[in-house]
């Protein structure tokens, strides 16, 4: 065959092949249920199989997982979720992203908080200087499990780690409060207040301190008013009367140093500020 003809044949053959490939691809559904991940070797096996290129393997697996777990039409995509992230984190335990992203997917998308917590625990174990894993775990306990005791434990741990930002301490204190240990919570908030490095922290602390103090003292005052009424068959004219008759040693002030508001008509004791945090 002539040279030119051969070249033409080669080119058209290539184009034809490309066209056929495209048709072939359109007939295959790559993301059928069957082709979801069947099995993945455990972390060590994959490390061995990677023959020294395991970092890259872990990276690629991570990149793949991000794409895969955001492909919403694969219905059973979470079947091996824990396995995948265990593998990645086994290979490179100090790579932080997988713990964070993995637990995020587990908590938000797969709705499996215990699985997320397991992953975060692992992260914390392998990276003892990192506060963020305990922080995330604490948050999940608080928000989704509503297990304040456990959340408090996590925040406690996180707060103790170097570089833990102030709000962790705040969260910790709040959780203690939620756990119905107002005395301890008060102490913690006081500590935060005293060491506050910025206005936000100080404000937040004062708010909490105000609330805790008020929540402790208002009921007490209210009780004393009732006691007064029972004894003297009338409401006291003011809170100082309670002190005069010796029911309280002195009239407590709120955290701002202002007097509590007493309505002599109804006998209700309230605080000047409206505090927001409600106990759940």
């Amino acid at each position: 065959m002539r040279g030119r003809l051969l070249a033409l044949l080669a080119l058209s053959g290539l184009l034809l092949a490309a066209g056929m490939q495209q048709r072939y691809d359109s007939t295959i559904n790559y993301f059928s249920e069957r082709s979801a991940f069947v099995s993945l070797p455990a972390g060590k096996t994959l490390k061995a199989l990677a023959f020294g290129y395991h970092n890259l393997a872990a990276d690629l697996l991570f990149i793949w997982s991000i794409q895969f777990y955001s492909t919403y039409y694969i219905s059973n995509r979470f079947d091996f979720l824990e396995r995948v992230y265990d593998t990645i984190t086994d290979i490179t335990p100090q790579y932080k992203e997988p713990y964070v992203i993995g637990s995020l997917i587990m908590a938000m998308e797969a709705r499996d908080i215990p699985m997320a917590l397991r992953l975060l625990d692992k992260g914390s174990l392998r990276n003892p200087e990192e506060y963020m894993f305990d922080q995330e775990a604490g948050f999940y306990c608080y928000k989704y499990l509503k297990d304040y005791a456990r959340a408090e434990q996590y925040y406690n741990r996180a707060a103790a780690k170097p570089g833990a930002p102030a709000f962790i301490k705040r969260m910790n204190a709040h959780l203690v409060y939620l756990r119905n240990d107002p005395k301890m919570a008060y102490q913690m908030w006081l500590d935060i207040y005293r060491h506050a490095g910025d206005i936000l922290t100080k404000d937040s602390a004062t708010n909490h301190l105000y609330q805790i103090k008020a929540e402790a003292e208002l009921p007490q005052l209210q009780a004393k008013v009732a006691e007064f009424r029972a004894k003297f068959r009338r409401l006291p004219a003011s809170l100082s009367e309670l002190a005069v008759v010796g029911m309280i040693r002195e009239v407590p002030r709120d955290f701002d140093g202002n007097e509590y508001v007493y309505d002599a008509q109804s006998g209700k004791v309230t605080a000047q500020r409206i505090f927001r945090w409600k106990k759940r």
Partner: protein, 256 residues
């Protein structure tokens, strides 16, 4: 250095430097290293980690290929083409020949590695990763690993065909990176004889993963200077042993 050894070193380097395959591998190594930028776009979070991981892995891979391919042909070609007659019929001992060949190959290898390292180092800096001296440290360790591989391929090249040399060298490279599994095996075994055998193999075969400090370098974890020192010494010792073995074998070699 004796002029004869120097001559062999330079000649070996020249042979590689005029070989197209060599340049091809260097080119692809750099290409893949630079494509790490693309890969890094796909990840969430620390893109620089993925960029460095990919780049280092690419350079690692292609340099290993260079080490193996230039090494396995080295001595074999000389024997095959009878150019070895020109050298050994002169007052050059077999030892000098092997040492010269090794140094020439080492020079070639380190030149390729040096070029790739420099380019990638600048690339990382330009991509926003700053001057990561850790990467250079990794390349130094990789250089040592490559010299071990070169010595291995030279050893095989001195007595078998390129295909067998290739198979043996690649096998030792792969095994060399999973030697840590030997320890796990040893723990599982009961019979002392098997344990002893595994232990012997553990020390006999090259332990290459010690040079693989990619993880530490990219994540910035601390490196124990003693560990590094021992790795360096390991390399020097192992290379010396290999060269010695090669010379021993080569001395008995007859050229029909």
């Amino acid at each position: 250095m004796k002029a004869s050894v120097k001559g062999i070193v330079i000649n070996t380097f020249r042979e590689s430097a005029r070989n197209k395959m060599f340049y091809l591998l260097v080119f692809f190594g750099i290409l893949f290293a630079l494509s790490s930028k693309v890969v890094s776009f796909l990840t969430l979070g620390d893109a620089m980690k993925v960029l460095k991981d990919t780049g280092l892995a690419a350079i690692n891979f292609f340099c290993v290929l260079i080490a193996i391919f230039t090494g396995i042909n080295l001595v074999f070609k000389e024997i095959e083409k009878k150019t070895v007659f020109n050298i050994l019929s002169k007052p050059v001992s077999r030892d000098e020949f092997i040492v010269g060949k090794f140094l020439g190959l080492a020079l070639t290898m380190l030149t390729a590695l040096g070029a790739m390292s420099a380019i990638f180092f600048v690339f990382v800096a330009l991509s926003g990763g700053g001057f990561d001296w850790g990467i250079l440290l990794y390349f130094c360790m990789l250089g040592l690993e490559l010299l071990v591989i070169v010595a291995i391929s030279l050893l095989f090249s001195s007595f078998t065909t390129p295909i067998l040399s290739f198979i043996f060298t690649v096998s030792l490279y792969l095994i060399g990176h999973v030697m840590w599994t030997f320890n796990e095996f040893k723990a599982l075994l009961r019979v002392p004889a098997w344990k002893a055998l595994i232990q012997v193999l553990y020390y006999l075969l090259p332990n290459l993963d010690k040079f693989n400090i990619k993880n530490e370098v990219v994540l910035g974890t601390a490196l124990n200077p003693w560990t590094m020192l021992f790795s360096i010494l390991y390399a020097l010792a192992y290379i010396a042993a290999l060269l010695a073995l090669t010379v021993l074998i080569f001395r008995k070699r007859e050229f029909q």
